[in-house]
Subunit: 139 residues, 2 copies
Amino acid sequence: MEAKLEELLKVKGYKITSQRRAVLEAFIYLDKHLLTAAEVYEYVSAKSNKINSSTVYRNLEILTDAGIISRSNLDNGVNYYELNLEGHHHHLICISCGAAEKTSFCPMEKIKLSLEESTDFQPIDHKLEIYGYCGRCKK
Amino acid sequence: MEAKLEELLKVKGYKITSQRRAVLEAFIYLDKHLLTAAEVYEYVSAKSNKINSSTVYRNLEILTDAGIISRSNLDNGVNYYELNLEGHHHHLICISCGAAEKTSFCPMEKIKLSLEESTDFQPIDHKLEIYGYCGRCKK
DNA sequence: CTGGCTGCAAAGACTTTGCAAGGCT
DNA sequence: AGCCTTGCAAAGTCTTTGCAGCCAG
């Protein structure tokens, strides 16, 4: 998988450096699929790769530009990044433990139909997050 | 309307000060219904009310606590505040001019049903924003 | 009077940027 | 070799906080 992703970088004219590879690995090897810049930084630092945090930020932007990851803003105001590998989905975010699971449920088709007949707004993209209690945290 | 809102503050034990009233007015008299802290600050400053930006932040938090306004985080990572007066709704945000309109369409009931049969996640709240082109900006 | 509120200044969290040196290809 | 990248440090943006004096109730 790594090789495939690195290919995407090359196509865009980006080089493969050890730092960039370490950032990629964070997404591939960490359990969590939504990562903050700080979590990525922590991962690459723990791997003994000496790397500057501004390099992490720059690479997160480059990976986003290359379409490998994407960025979203949760309600806590923090930026999260995740791999783009999987199909369109939304997140179920636990307001107790913070864990995020994915759900493939997407209401966008219905929303489009509804908007079409009531407004002249042309939807392009959307953002949906559901907050609540995960199986472990609900009683 | 202002009187009613101020009543809500009193009930919570908050005092009515000129600065707090000015922040409230920003929400009542500005056209936009989604305001950033900076926009609120700009409004109260223009009104010749000398007021410190930290006071704006503190009052935004207090108004949120009193249930008068609520805060949300758009995809640009900026915090927006809006009056809670109106019923539940979501926003259609123009990616060209930035204008936000409201839509009462909400898929949450369907989402709840769908989640119930496929996961053990217990939804409490949700966040939905739709990005696209408004009537003026689309061609 | 008295606790909440404000202004001011400083600090904090997160992110971006300029520049010179270093490293892919 | 040539251009992309990196590290470092500084600056930028947005927001929070400590403190002393002030004000609404």
